[in-house]
């Protein structure tokens, strides 16, 4: 019985895993992964500059005629919004005008902008283009912030096609 106990004890000892090779493998893998790891995620915003193109309003369908192009002038102390349309209508275009006072890095002005853009999008759902005209003094991060606000709100897509343009004059 005592011998049987010894045998059992020995077999229990044999089941212990030898972790050293696994540890060695980890020691090789971790520096390799540390070297090739990136601790920041780079994403991209698609945009374009205005290019000359020939358009034929006569070929547009009814839905396309409902499209508007939002023009957003990003100034140092205000945001001016206006609209362009293939079917000019003074009353209709005057409704699109809006001026929002702006403080740099202010959330309130961006919220107001988003609310106005949401209202425009719900009225003209086929519209997807926004022309962003920043002032020369406006910083790049503020342009990106405005683009983010104009592109989407939570899961709702607003104006995903953003054209960046310099102001005239």
């Amino acid at each position: 019985m005592a011998r049987l106990g010894r045998i059992r004890h020995k077999s229990e000892e044999d089941t212990e895993l030898n972790m050293v090779p696994i540890m060695n493998m980890f020691m090789v893998l971790i520096p390799f992964l540390l070297m090739s790891a990136s601790f920041y995620q780079i994403k991209a915003i698609n945009t374009s500059v205005p290019v000359h193109a020939d358009t034929h309003a006569g070929n547009l369908s009814n839905n396309e005629k409902e499209k508007i192009t939002v023009v957003l002038e990003l100034k140092e102390k205000e945001i001016r919004i206006s609209g362009l349309s293939e079917t000019p209508n003074d009353l209709f275009l005057s409704e699109l005008k809006m001026v929002i006072s702006r403080q740099p890095d202010s959330e309130a002005s961006m919220d107001e902008l988003v609310n106005f853009l949401k209202a425009l999008k719900s009225r003209y759902p086929a519209s997807d283009t926004l022309i962003l005209i920043p002032d020369e003094e406006v910083l790049y991060r503020e342009i990106i912030q405005t683009m983010d606000s104009a592109r989407n709100y939570e899961t709702e897509t607003l104006f995903p096609n953003i054209v960046l343009s310099g102001s005239l004059g």
């Binding site: 790891a37 601790f39 994403k43 910083l139 990106i144 592109r151």
Partner: protein
């Protein structure tokens, strides 16, 4: 007495066992974290110390294309320095001389080379712009205009995920 001593000696010579389990746990966690943050091409977009990208909610992926870097100190086209940047001024790049600037010439060369090599396929018309968050639109606009004039009207603005 002698028996007791040998018992004590035999207890002393038990080889010490390392407690590797907790170390294994730690390594496993580190390994999983690193595998998740593994990037296929980390070398392609290495950010300099003088380049701080803005953060954004954008989720689009960037594509491999011509890369323009506008950092706080210099303007580069695919790792080749085109001009020095001092504050808002880019040396040799003013609104009057966009088409004679080194950036325009460099982009034009890329354009001609890509048109030759693509063999009937449409060459890429977009540029990946990595711009420091503190630059004003006045500075960026010159780069954008130059790229537009050289035949690259579409841009991808590189941003950091929020």
């Amino acid at each position: 007495m002698a028996l007791g001593k040998s018992k004590k000696r035999s207890q002393k010579f038990v080889p010490p066992k390392l407690m590797l389990t907790s170390m294994m746990d730690m390594f496993t966690i580190i390994l999983i974290f690193l595998l998740f943050s593994f990037s296929e091409n980390p070398e392609d977009l290495k950010l300099d110390k003088d380049l701080e990208l803005p953060t954004s909610t954008a989720e689009g992926e960037y594509q491999e294309t011509i890369k323009i870097v506008l950092s706080q100190k210099e303007l580069r086209l695919n790792d080749e320095v085109m001009a020095a940047v001092q504050g808002r001024q880019i040396a040799g790049l003013t609104n009057d001389n966009l088409e004679s600037s080194p950036l325009f010439q460099g982009l034009k060369t890329f354009r001609i080379e890509s048109e030759k090599s693509e063999n009937g396929q449409e060459p890429p018309t977009h540029v990946l712009l990595l711009c420091d968050r503190s630059h004003s639109f006045q500075t960026i606009n010159r780069v954008i205009k130059t790229a537009g004039l050289a035949g690259y009207p579409n841009f991808q603005f590189a941003v950091l995920e929020e």
